[in-house]
């Protein structure tokens, strides 16, 4: 009788305990992220920026991501333009294809594509690198040398991230637009001049402002979340893999949530 009762309690208790642990872990992680972000901004405003390292990180984060962003943006542009062209042609609105494609690219697809690609490529790499540094006591060595790990490791990566992400996003948008022009001409017989004219009439300055805001937020999420996971993981080789996965999952989830919030706040239906 006792064992049945205990078993029943375990069945109920385990999921509750597990949920509690997950929630506690999530709040702890968010708290750590906020602390690291506070110190990152503090060091930046104090002018404690290692420009040489920032330049190096800009190359790692930005330049090395161009190829993968190009491919993704190109094919996203192809697919999206094809869908939009097909639907608008049915309604006889061929001349609006450029506007709709460019709106989607500048408001959503550009920042999201670049964000997701950088989260996968850079976020995972940062988490793996910093976790390895934790495990091999390199971070402890920095602390003994009285070098703040946030100043030395996070600030250059963050600076590089917020510099390179808007460039990557706008580049992703441009590549997507080129793909859109090609598909619109081939699939809907819309001339590039007509396409671009529609783009010009549709896109507002505010769209670019929101585009850059989203890029900045994406860079912040990817770099700070990944650095935080790297700087708080201990253990062995297995934990490097776990940290990498966590960094990508947290970054991508954060990007999609933040993207919706920014969209909701900036493009409220009139």
């Amino acid at each position: 009788m006792t064992s049945i009762k205990t078993k029943s309690l375990n069945i109920i208790g385990y999921p509750i305990h597990s949920l509690e642990n997950n929630l506690m872990g999530m709040f702890k992680h968010i708290g750590q992220v906020l602390i690291i972000y506070y110190y990152t901004l503090k060091f930046i405003f104090q002018g404690k920026i290692d420009y040489k390292e920032t330049f190096k990180q800009s190359y790692m984060i930005g330049v090395k991501s161009f190829f993968v962003v190009s491919i993704t943006a190109l094919f996203t542009g192809f697919a999206m333009s094809l869908q939009i062209s097909r639907e608008l042609v049915l309604f006889g609105a061929d001349t609006a294809i450029g506007g709709v494609v460019s709106l989607a690219l500048i408001r959503e697809i550009g920042p999201i594509t670049a964000g997701v690609m950088v989260a996968g490529r850079v976020g995972s790499s940062i988490a793996a690198e910093l976790t390895t540094m934790m495990i091999t006591e390199q971070i402890d060595a920095l602390k003994v040398m009285k070098i703040n790990p946030v100043e030395y490791l996070v600030v250059p990566r963050y600076m590089a991230g917020i510099l390179m992400m808007p460039i990557l996003s706008i580049y992703a948008m441009a590549v997507g637009l080129i793909a859109g022009i090609i598909v619109a001409q081939v699939a809907a017989n819309v001339q590039p001049a007509t396409f671009l004219d529609s783009v010009q009439q549709t896109i507002l300055d505010r769209d670019f402002e929101v585009h850059f805001l989203k890029s900045f937020i994406n860079a912040t999420i990817i770099i700070i979340f990944s650095c935080n996971i790297g700087l708080h993981t201990r253990g062995g080789a297995e934990d490097v893999g776990i940290a990498t996965t966590r960094a990508v999952v947290w970054s991508m989830t954060g990007i999609f949530i933040a993207n919706y919030i920014v969209t909701a706040l900036t493009f409220i239906p009139r």
């Binding site: 091999t136 006591e137 390199q138 402890d140 060595a141 602390k143 009285k146 070098i147």
Partner: protein, 241 residues
């Protein structure tokens, strides 16, 4: 950091306590070290030797007690070298000098001098991955001494090294002790290391200091803990497992 230096002391530890979860690692230990003195901390695995070094370097917070350091110039030679893989040997040493705000020329001169001392002048531009285990250890030494520390800690400096390299590392510890007149703590298991390099020994077991004395006395004492440890015997009060 207290600047008053009474009785030539460099480091004082009073009633230091540390637990990890329910496991009490240090149960209130106290000791002090004078300038130029090298103290060896020995004991079975898991007795809290490395924890003491982490506490002394502010890498972890104590649960209780007090640590008084009479100098800010502190270095630690890590067991696994802990060199920054993305930096060259020279850059690793320069990192330790970062807060000294020296001119490029002064920095280069100090680095060259320390690399010469550990016999790595030809490896200044090599990355840690290009060095052997012994060379990495020596680089770690050079990085630790580049600031001319007043307090220096060695975490298992000869563990995993061949006997010849162990002797070379022990010689470095002795040379540095003479040259820098620094207070030093050597955490080690190796008999040759504690007999050759230390002036005083502290035996830790179950979070407490079980024996203190000179290395020569350690080999002759009738204290059951020290005797068992010095003779590497299975029989005695120290239970491992």
């Amino acid at each position: 950091m207290n600047e008053v230096n009474k009785n030539n002391l460099m480091l004082e530890v009073k009633n230091l306590k540390k637990s990890f979860g329910n496991r009490e690692i240090l149960k209130g230990i106290s000791f002090s070290i004078k300038a130029g003195e090298t103290v060896g901390i020995i004991g079975p695995s898991g007795c809290g030797k490395s924890t003491i070094l982490k506490l002394l370097c502010n890498l972890i917070e104590p649960d209780g007690g007090e640590i008084i350091k009479y100098s800010n110039d502190i270095s630690l030679v890590f067991q696994g070298s802990a060199l920054l893989n993305s930096l060259t040997v020279k850059e690793n040493l320069a990192l330790a000098l970062r807060n000294k705000h020296l001119s490029q020329r002064e920095e280069s001169e100090i680095i060259a001098e320390k690399l010469k001392l550990v016999g790595l002048s030809n490896f200044a531009n090599s990355y840690p991955a290009q060095l052997s285990g012994g060379q990495q250890k020596r680089t770690s030494f050079a990085r630790a001494i580049v600031i001319d520390p007043k307090i220096i800690f060695y975490d298992e400096p000869t563990t995993g090294l061949d006997p010849i390299l162990s002797t070379i590392i022990e010689d470095y510890i002795i040379t540095l002790s003479d040259q820098l007149r620094a207070a030093a703590i050597v955490v080690t298991h190796q008999l040759s290391t504690w007999t050759r390099t230390t002036d005083r020994l502290i035996l830790l077991h179950a979070g407490e200091i079980k024996w203190q004395g000179k290395p020569q006395e350690a080999l002759e004492t009738n204290d059951p803990y020290m005797r068992q440890f010095a003779l590497s015997s299975r029989d005695g009060p120290i239970l491992v497992g």
